[in-house]
């Protein structure tokens, strides 16, 4: 069906992609080189190659422990990695679950207050967090959700909802209405049609939306550092921030930490993009 493009064309495509990959990898490779460097001699260099390679920084970051008040030793890094994953996955699940029905309603129904609601959702993205952080703290305090992962997840999820709604609404709008109508002619209720027909077709979009929510929660540290009062509840970005002090920064350990922190996200993206391709192959869109 598809003809293989000509050789020069393929070569050109790969050339462009390789250049783009070089552009996107270069700064990250500097982070990698710093993480594995035993010394950091200041001299201008073009290639990110570790100096006196060592695994020491990595070991120190990953091996971080602390002694609990009861005398037991806790593997702090493992604990914080778990926190990060739990918080970010919950955020993605909760955020997407909240956003899906709303996005569907916006795509399919017309109702009173719809236009105003959409505008309000967009408006929430415009107000910089600098002025709303302290009121948020007060609200969470009133709800007794300070210093809890639940509170953090609720904040992250609510913050991610407006964008998730926009993403999903567009995806639902792209799905032909005929699909649901056919199901409803066959005797399905509106909700069954939504759940059994629309959701499976929208799976790629849902996966990407969940990924967005996951990433924003996974990389956030200002709110996490403000809301959490217990080192065994901290998420990884908070741990990373600790390498930057008042007068000095431990760049090698910061870089090593950054590297470790980024790995799960890359793994996840790899999985989700498989899902993307699978969703595409299931071919619901063909109608």
């Amino acid at each position: 069906m598809n003809r293989l493009p000509s050789l020069p064309e393929r070569a050109l495509v790969h050339l462009v992609l390789v250049l783009a990959v070089a552009f996107s990898l270069y700064p990250v490779l500097w982070v990698v080189a710093t993480a594995f460097s035993g010394t950091l001699t200041p001299e201008p260099r073009a290639l990110p190659i570790p100096q006196e390679p060592t695994l020491e920084h990595l070991r120190e970051v990953v091996g971080a422990t602390r002694v609990m008040p009861d005398g037991a030793t806790q593997w702090l890094f493992g604990r914080q990695l778990l926190n990060s994953l739990v918080v970010s996955i919950s955020t993605a699940v909760v955020g997407v679950l909240i956003a899906i029905p709303t996005a569907y309603a916006l795509a399919r129904f017309s109702f009173l207050g719809k236009a105003a609601g959409v505008r309000a959702l967009l408006a929430t993205q415009m107000f910089p967090a600098v002025a709303s952080a302290i009121p948020l703290y007060l609200i969470l305090d009133a709800l007794e959700l300070l210093n809890s992962r639940t509170g953090l997840v609720l904040c992250y999820a609510s913050t991610s909802v407006p964008f998730a709604i926009f993403q999903l609404r567009a995806a639902f709008e792209a799905i032909p209405v005929d699909l649901e109508e056919a199901a409803m002619v066959d005797g399905a209720t509106r909700f069954q049609a939504f759940r059994l027909v629309v959701l499976p077709v929208a799976r790629p979009a849902i996966a990407v939306t969940a990924l967005f929510a996951f990433m924003s929660a996974y990389n956030e540290f200002i709110l996490a550092a403000t809301l959490l009062d217990d080192a065994s509840m901290f998420t990884l970005p908070v741990m990373l921030q600790r390498f930057i002090g008042e007068y000095d920064a431990q760049w090698d350990k910061f870089a090593a930490g950054a590297l470790v922190v980024s790995l799960p996200v890359m793994a996840l993206f790899y999985l989700v993009q498989r899902n993307l391709v699978a969703g595409l192959a299931s071919g619901g869109v063909k109608g």
């Binding site: 996107s24 201008p44 109702f111 609720l154 990389n219 993009q273």
Partner: protein, 733 residues
């Protein structure tokens, strides 16, 4: 009204939950220590046999704001360890209490004791004294000259690439020893800007000459000073105990060094006196009430604890009854320097000096102003930040206005509710409401409510703790550029123009690169597709604060990777390109920021493009091909119009997020040169966090940003709908 409501519920909450359940709780202690200092603290706490203690190590960046958020609610630590120079600010915000009987009488160094006192009352129990001192690389230098000029005169005798004297030349904190040696000061007795006059100007001219003679690295920050000294590229360095900690954890061959007091300035005959920071234990108001908390504070400051800190953290004690260990010359050197150091003023005004002073030094070193001129400008900046808050306004106009507005709204609602069509519409809308209810609740409580309260704070001003309602005065001040010229650097209008340019440039590149990559990666028969996709997503997968700092490092004029590339190209092709001083002019600094942000943002648009393309049915493309459309026609007339509705929300949101992209600007250029690359949101952050915590003023900026973006998106929507006649536009019903 809102503020009163909020206060009401805070008060009742504190009364209900706060006081009642405290008695049996463990003591909470917060600190920002790492490494040896943290280890010492743990050991000291293990010896404490009072109530159980829970410690929390907080990132330094989050320390102040966390204290300010938690303590007024009766939450947060019972005691914490911080530097004395914050006492004035903390006392004003009522987040500390007098230490009372936690302080032992007659055992503290007089200077340290005075440093923790305000109006004759002690507000912290002194633990240790910190200042910078002189590090000497003993492999490069045999005999240490007694004067700074003597040290600089060694420059010609040093190997190439080695600096005589490394310090953070652009930081007012590190400039202070030189300023003091010229007889100048940062803050005068009445909390006015002291960095003026002939002494200050002479100190700047002196530093300018140091840099021009190549005796001092021109762009060093703390990390670079450390690395220069560690790698033997600096014969002397002015740095604090943290450098020693870094050197002792060195993996390979350590640099042989010793520490001594900073030298004398020959020009004046005065010693270089650094700023002294006294670290102490501070008690929160609710902590100070508990005797066992005060007992812990005494324990932390005890002679035994001081010895542990000497051994593990190598910090200079503030006590006079604990002798320095005889076998630790490093500790002895820092103790000697501490005797000579000048305690940093603890008044809130001190914190307002740093930003103007740093900028003035930078401007002089870039040859963009004479010292006198730069310092005069700094004084204006300082006075601008320290200006008195606007007079309180009567709250009646806004109360009457809000009241009548609510009344009018209620009347209209009642009237319309009577109309049968409306009831019919509500009834028809009910099924949809079931789908949206939980989103309305979540976004309403945790996003919109904080936002409305935040917006309301823009009507208030004054130092934290004594906030008054001032009406629209904050907005008036911003929009009139606080009485200065409307298009001066840092005025609302200039910053708005920079922000607009920033947004347009970024979105253009994000969309351009994102579309091309998305289209290429969606080619059906592309090999290695999965590999490319994952590699191209990486800029977005690594936390942005990490990569923003990596980019900043790459843009370093002297040692950055871009300079490395330029030199490598010069070598390979025999060119003679000069390294670029990225942060010395607006255009290059703006380019550096934009390059970083374009790099960070294009993967998002790429993923959105790929997502949108999956929804384009293949048969549509095939049909177009059969109809004989060329590729370009297929792209511009079929594919792009089809993916546009899916992408439009992401583009709009991308533009909004870029408009408010604070991270990159703050971390990469930091506003350099001279605040010219700041955008509105980073300006707002500065008012909230570095300029005396003027939250009301920052909130007014936030409201203005909000209004700009509302107008902007409305305008765009209007144009789009006009363009879309006949198309499937106007989906925004």
């Amino acid at each position: 009204m809102l503020a009163r409501l909020v206060t009401l519920f805070i008060v009742s909450f504190v009364l209900l939950v706060g006081a009642a359940a405290r008695a049996a709780e463990p003591i909470r202690l917060w600190h920002a220590y790492r490494g040896g200092e943290e280890q010492a603290l743990e050991e000291v706490l293990a010896e404490f046999d009072g109530a159980p203690v829970e410690t929390l190590a907080i990132p330094y960046d989050a320390f102040g704001s966390k204290l300010a958020a938690a303590i007024p609610l009766g939450e947060g630590p019972h005691l914490f360890i911080d530097s004395h120079e914050r006492l004035g600010d903390y006392r004003r915000r009522k987040i500390i209490a007098a230490v009372d009987d936690a302080l032992e009488a007659g055992v503290y160094d007089a200077v340290a004791l005075r440093a923790v006192q305000l109006d004759g009352v002690a507000w912290a129990v002194p633990l240790s004294r910190k200042s910078v001192a002189l590090y000497v690389n003993t492999a490069l230098v045999d005999e240490v000259p007694t004067t700074l000029e003597g040290i600089l005169a060694l420059q010609p005798t040093l190997p190439p690439g080695v600096y005589a004297y490394a310090y953070e030349v652009k930081k007012a904190y590190s400039h202070a020893p030189i300023l003091h040696a010229f007889g100048g000061r940062m803050l005068d007795d009445d909390d006015g800007f002291g960095f003026r006059g002939p002494e200050a100007e002479a100190s700047l001219r002196f530093v300018l000459e140091l840099v021009e003679r190549g005796a001092v690295p021109p762009n060093a920050d703390g990390g670079l000073v450390t690395n220069l000294f560690k790698s033997g590229q600096a014969a002397f360095a002015a740095s604090g105990p943290w450098l020693a900690a870094d050197l002792s954890s060195e993996l390979g061959d350590a640099v042989p060094y010793r520490v001594q007091s900073l030298p004398v300035l020959e020009a004046t005959g005065l010693p270089m006196r650094p700023f002294l920071t006294v670290e102490g234990v501070m008690l929160s108001p609710h902590g100070a009430l508990r005797p066992e908390v005060r007992a812990l504070a005494r324990h932390l400051a005890s002679p035994a604890a001081a010895q542990v800190r000497q051994r593990l953290a190598r910090s200079v004690t503030a006590r006079t009854d604990v002798p320095a260990p005889a076998d630790d010359p490093l500790l002895a050197a820092f103790a000697q320097q501490a005797e000579l150091a000048i305690p940093m003023p603890s008044s809130p005004a001190m914190r307002a000096t740093w930003e103007p002073a740093d900028r003035a030094i930078g401007k002089v070193l870039r040859h963009q102003a004479e010292p006198a001129e730069a310092l005069e400008e700094a004084q204006h900046r300082f006075d601008d930040v320290r200006r008195p808050p606007p007079p309180p306004a009567s709250p009646w106009p806004i109360l009457v206005l809000t009241g009548s507005f609510l009344l009018w709204g209620a009347l209209v609602l009642v009237q319309r509710a009577r109309a049968p069509e409306l009831r019919e519409r509500v009834r028809k809308s009910l099924p949809a409401y079931r789908y949206v209810a939980h989103a309305v609740l979540a976004v309403g409580v945790l996003v919109i409510l904080p936002l409305v309260v935040g917006a309301a704070t823009s009507l208030f001003a004054g130092p934290a703790g004594e906030v008054e309602y001032v009406g629209l005065a904050n907005f008036f001040e911003i929009l009139t550029a606080r009485g200065g010229p409307l298009l001066a650097t840092g005025s609302f209008y200039t910053v708005l123009l920079v922000t607009l340019l920033w947004t347009v440039v970024n979105i253009t590149f994000h969309l351009g690169i994102g579309l091309v990559m998305g289209l290429l990666l969606s080619r059906p028969l592309l090999r290695l597709k999965a590999v490319y996709r994952v590699l191209l997503i990486i800029p977005w997968a690594v936390p942005s604060y990490v990569t923003a700092l990596a980019w900043k490092g790459m843009f370093d004029q002297q040692y950055g990777a871009i300079t490395g590339i330029i030199l490598a190209i010069n070598d390979l092709f025999g060119f003679t390109m000069e390294p670029i001083a990225w942060f010395s002019s607006f255009s290059t600094a703006f380019t550096a920021n934009a390059a970083t942000n374009i790099w960070l943002g294009f993967p998002f648009m790429m993923v959105v493009t790929i997502g949108a393309l999956t929804a384009v049915p293949k048969d549509v493309l095939e049909a177009a091909e059969v109809d004989g459309a060329t590729r370009w026609q297929r792209l511009t007339r079929v594919v792009l119009p089809m993916i546009r509705p899916t992408m439009m929300p992401s583009i709009t949101l991308g533009a909004i997020w870029t408009f408010n992209m604070f991270n990159v600007v703050f971390l990469v250029s930091g506003g350099d040169p001279d605040g010219s690359t700041d955008i509105l949101v980073s300006e707002a952050y500065r008012w909230a966090f570095t300029r005396e915590a003027q939250y009301g003023y920052a909130a007014a900026y936030a409201v203005l940003i909000f209004v700009m973006l509302m107008l902007g998106t409305r305008l765009l929507e209007g144009t789009r709908n006009r363009w879309d006649r006949g198309g499937r536009g106007g989906s925004e019903d």
